[in-house]
Symmetry: C2
Subunit: 406 residues, 2 copies
Amino acid sequence: MARIVQKFGGTSVGDIERIRNVATKVKRDVDSGNEVAVVLSAMAGTTDQLVAWTRDAASNVDPREYDVVVSTGEQITTGLLAIILQDMGIPARSWASWQLPIKTDAAHTKARIRGIETASVETDLKAGRVAVFPGFQGISPDGRITTLGRGGSDTSAVALAAALDADRCDIYTDVEGVYTCDPRIVSKARKLERITYEEMLESASLGAKVLQARAVEMGMKHHVQIQVRSSFEDVPGTMVVDEDEIVEREIISAITYSREEAKITVAKVADKPGVAAAIFGPLADANINVDMIVQNVSEDGNQTDITFTVPEGDSLRAIDTIKQSQDAIGYQRIDHDADVVKISVIGVGMRSHAGVAQRMFKTLSEKAINIQVISTSEIKVSVLIAEEYTELALRALHSAYGMDVE
Amino acid sequence: MARIVQKFGGTSVGDIERIRNVATKVKRDVDSGNEVAVVLSAMAGTTDQLVAWTRDAASNVDPREYDVVVSTGEQITTGLLAIILQDMGIPARSWASWQLPIKTDAAHTKARIRGIETASVETDLKAGRVAVFPGFQGISPDGRITTLGRGGSDTSAVALAAALDADRCDIYTDVEGVYTCDPRIVSKARKLERITYEEMLESASLGAKVLQARAVEMGMKHHVQIQVRSSFEDVPGTMVVDEDEIVEREIISAITYSREEAKITVAKVADKPGVAAAIFGPLADANINVDMIVQNVSEDGNQTDITFTVPEGDSLRAIDTIKQSQDAIGYQRIDHDADVVKISVIGVGMRSHAGVAQRMFKTLSEKAINIQVISTSEIKVSVLIAEEYTELALRALHSAYGMDVE
């Protein structure tokens, strides 16, 4: 007997028939003698509608009331699943986040989970009752509803799995697992049997939308066994595990891409100490996440260009912020390019293998693809290239690293 | 300065523009220096959709989970109104029923309010903050969400007005007030300036859908000044008041009708003691609300017919229940007629005026309308007639009682 947390996303609970399908997954694990807790998203589209209403309502939306509105979708799906399970003869009940409670901080619309009181749910689970939780939400210290930000249901599931000391956290989604590359682009991509937390974390941060980065981080911290698997096909998914659980390591596990990047170049700034701080300080204050940064070698020793990337949605705000600091920075021009893609190769094997980055550069060069920015970490190499080369680059790299399925 | 509770129904909060219109009504009362609490229904159609989902989900719906699902619509509208009010510069916050709490019994889907803890809201109201509440819901003794049954938002509003010791409870709706008769049928119907709780209670029970009977009952008990008024036209509505506040009494205040009746005749039952109990006992046990009852005079002293009405939606279940008791009752035949309408004349003045019923019978007789069943109380006379005569009967009676607007 094991204790299993199952998490289903918006597509998996998109209508009553699909919620019924979710119930059969619950039943299967219950029938095998397991204790089962379920975490649900809202029906696909519901949260978008709720967000749209708050936008139509006002230009300045009180984040506390925003959370009141957008948290309702999950309440609906939890009740419906409990109804269906009981109708199938499986004891079940829904739990609102205030009924446990799931405690978060007070950062409305992007709250972080601080702790979960599980005493009452424990009793229920041990009595063989399935517990159904709304993902994406919690309760602030002063007792108001909070939400965790888009995609927060993954985080809810892993946090509940940790709090309930679950043996496994199954993330059911509309893909069959984690792939070496996006199979819609690279037909020879392969589903991974296992991937390490660190690689998964990099994948999530670098554009693969399978699992939220915060959820992986939490899983890594609390050693939660996460499995990414399909809601629709009954096949094994991908296990996210500690590095030492992977016996035979590939050098590269995954190649990811993200089109949601914008490149900003601040041209002809004085090449002197303090200039980088003058640019990136105000951006940090404005809560804009700067990713890749490169500073060109100064041609004449006096002036240089500083190039960096930000999320595409923040780029106009970033430019405004820099303009407001023009005096402090003393630049001549700001260039902006949204037609870029960040491509990353990820793998813990990189640590013990030289030449990984070199192979990437060589492969792209052979296809005449110009690399605009490079950034590296211990287990990944990312490059920024023109967006039009996305497919070409992904396929060439997948093949060059010997990852193609025969 | 007064304390006012405003209640808006589903049509009045049907979309963002209409919620904005609600906000202007709140602003008007706030600007006049009042403390304002607001009770909202879900957007028109939302609750129907939620109920439909629970029906699609299962044939046996757990009422506790039903309440979890169908209570979400009001959470959405309260959040949206609070957002709009704040955007207009009016301090406001939404309150979930568990945040007060609004305590009910455990009768899920038709719970009754037991008490409301208002301490935290009091502080807010006194600080000039508008409090926005979801109608139709509360919290059971074991901390689960309950709903009060369809139309329960009126009851929520009056209960909150009583608990907050409000000076007035304004029920905003899509009609301008309480009319002497349905103006869609009787064009000469007149809006009443005042109506007594008792008359309003009879009207609500007898088919006028302006205000829920339970809300009127609660208003009467706690002496809440209720005003029924329009969300869309800025005109005075109808005040529901104690009888002694009405100086010049009309004999008849209102004529109502209800098509949602079904007539059942249990034919040729033995005319002996205990037969009525054998019929109505099982119906009561099955929670079927029997309204009008008539027992025919026995022709031969041995057998009689018993006729009664039940809500149309319960009629098949009522017939089944009687069939199961056939041995105890010993009837020969059951007849069933859903094409009937109950027409009622209501007025506290009836107590001191003879001949009210007689005028009703005479008027209907002059139009050759056959009366099938009669029932009376201290302040109303109801008759059951064939449904096809509805309009004819209402117009004739409205005129006969001298209620027509010139």
